[in-house]
Amino acid sequence: MTAAIRARALEKRYKDVHALRGIDLTVEQGEFFALLGPNGAGKTTFISILAGLARATAGRAEVMGHDVLDDYRAARRLLGVVPQELVFDPFFTVRETLRIQSGYYGLRHNDDWIDELLVHLGLEDQADTNMRRLSGGMKRRVLVAQALVHRPPVIVLDEPTAGVDVELRQSLWAFIRRLNREGHTILLTTHYLEEAEALCERVAMLKQGRIVALDHTARLLSCEAERRLELKLDPPYLPAQLRRWLIECRDGRYCLRLTDYAEIETVLASLRAAGIRVQDMTIAKADLEDVFLRVMAQQG
């Protein structure tokens, strides 16, 4: 099967910035994929090259097997991009905007799908409102709708939930999940790592234009050996032999770093021996944020 997205040795230099330093990445059809990385890592640059908004300095990129330069019309027809920047055309209403965007993709009678998009994105009541008069979050919803007017098999969302309220985040993800179940490939960038963890099967982490981690989300999490144990103690005192595991003590809660659940036994035994009672205990597994921070710290 052709890959939904394929990048080979992709390089991008701006005048004085080396934004991408050899990206090799394949996203298969039907995947829900996260591209993560700190500010300036090159996520938007990568997406811009896929979308034809920027040109690679070297290397190739393909969307559904179509080169983004040589075969740009096919590549662009198969791709829907929600840009990171909140942009809009102040001359038009929401519906006009979506009709015009459909027209650019050669779709004349697209109102049924436009109506569906408006409903799923909670924009029914704004359909005839001028873009200028929408709130920021509403404008972002329209951006999402614009990216989907032509039902692209590959959907790229560059921080779609920045500045969006909880309710829309939920409904947006429900909608995107549905599209993914129906076979659309999703590539997502976000700084909310819990979103990526909940949604994406696979994750690539980008740092200074290089991929520094690329794996299934589950595997990244399980490799993260660290587990955390949080304890509220009575009396609030941690025996000396447990101190080497201590990460921090905040609001009377001790946070310990364990490498194995079996160590919980040891901790509890030490506490019992010292006559300290456990008032409250939580065990936290590493989340994607921990993985992310470790990976970023490791890579110089």
């Binding site: 701006y14 811009s48 979308a51 034809g52 908004l53 920027a54 040109r55 740009y72 019309r73 096919a74 662009r76 027809r77 791709l79 991009v81 840009p83 920047e85 942009v87 809009f88 055309d89 102040p90 001359f91 038009f92 015009i100 965007q101 459909s102 027209g103 650019y104 993709y105 050669g106 779709l107 004349r108 614009q146 032509h150």
Partner: protein, 251 residues
């Protein structure tokens, strides 16, 4: 094809929705020129036998409005889209660079011609106009608006801020149009300035356009067309080349 017609239609809507600024205002400006210059010069200047100065002035003013508005439409639309960022909406879809070019160009021509027509119709209140060779008139209106629509596209692509555009407007477009015989026949100029005028393509546009109305002009219209058409072709070629390469649009 739908992609092109949509972009074309969108560009038309863009100026039509604010027609007070984009159509009515330039008509008013031209009208003020007409009133003032004809009031001052009507008694003193006669360029062609049997043609009053006010009548002589009309085609020049119409053409000046056509050119300036064709330029303004494509250049301001592009710079606005670039600065606000909504240019991505036309860069993301599978529009070819030829469709992109034609849509912006034709919309610019329509705006120029609509304003020109408006100036002409309002001008009829003040003077009678003959139309001896309507086809020449049309040929020059179309080719000249194409030249300035294309220059507008080039300027819009090149400019990074409104200042750049204002620079082109003030140092290129306005001088070219004013020093082209809108208000006078270049035969009334000293020989040196006559020679200079012959290097200004806008002179041929206005002169040929005028020929369409009066059947009289400084140069034969065929020569004028032989200057203007190559301008259209060369500018189109340059613009298409830049668009194909994504110059300043696709980084």
């Amino acid at each position: 094809m739908t992609g092109f017609t949509t972009l074309f239609h969108k560009e038309l809507l863009r100026f039509w929705k604010v027609m007070l600024q984009t159509v009515a205002a330039p008509i008013l400006t031209a009208l003020l020129y007409l009133l003032i210059f004809s009031h001052v010069l009507e008694e003193h200047v006669q360029v062609y036998p049997g043609v009053s100065y006010t009548a002589f002035l009309m085609p020049g003013l119409i053409m000046m409005s056509v050119l300036q508005n064709a330029f303004a439409n494509s250049s301001s639309s592009l710079i606005q889209s670039k600065i606000t960022g909504n240019i991505v909406f036309v860069l993301l879809p599978p529009l070819s660079y030829v469709e992109f070019f034609l849509a912006y160009l034709l919309a610019a021509m329509v705006r120029g011609l609509v304003v020109g027509l408006g100036v002409g119709l309002v001008g009829l209140v003040f003077t009678d106009l003959t139309l001896v060779h309507p086809l020449w008139m049309l040929a020059f209106a179309l080719s000249a608006s194409a030249v300035f629509g294309t220059i507008g596209i080039l300027a819009g692509i090149w400019a990074e801020k409104f200042d750049h555009l204002a620079g082109i407007q003030n140092f290129l477009i306005v001088p070219l149009t004013f020093l082209s015989g809108v208000f006078y026949s270049i035969h009334s100029l000293p020989p040196f300035w006559q020679k200079v005028s012959h290097w200004n393509p806008v002179f041929y546009m206005i002169d040929g356009f005028r020929y369409g109305f009066f059947g009289q002009s400084d140069m034969p219209p065929g020569i004028g067309m032989a200057v203007v058409l190559p301008c259209v072709l060369v500018l189109t070629g340059i613009t298409l080349l830049l668009l194909e390469r994504g110059y300043k649009l696709r980084h």
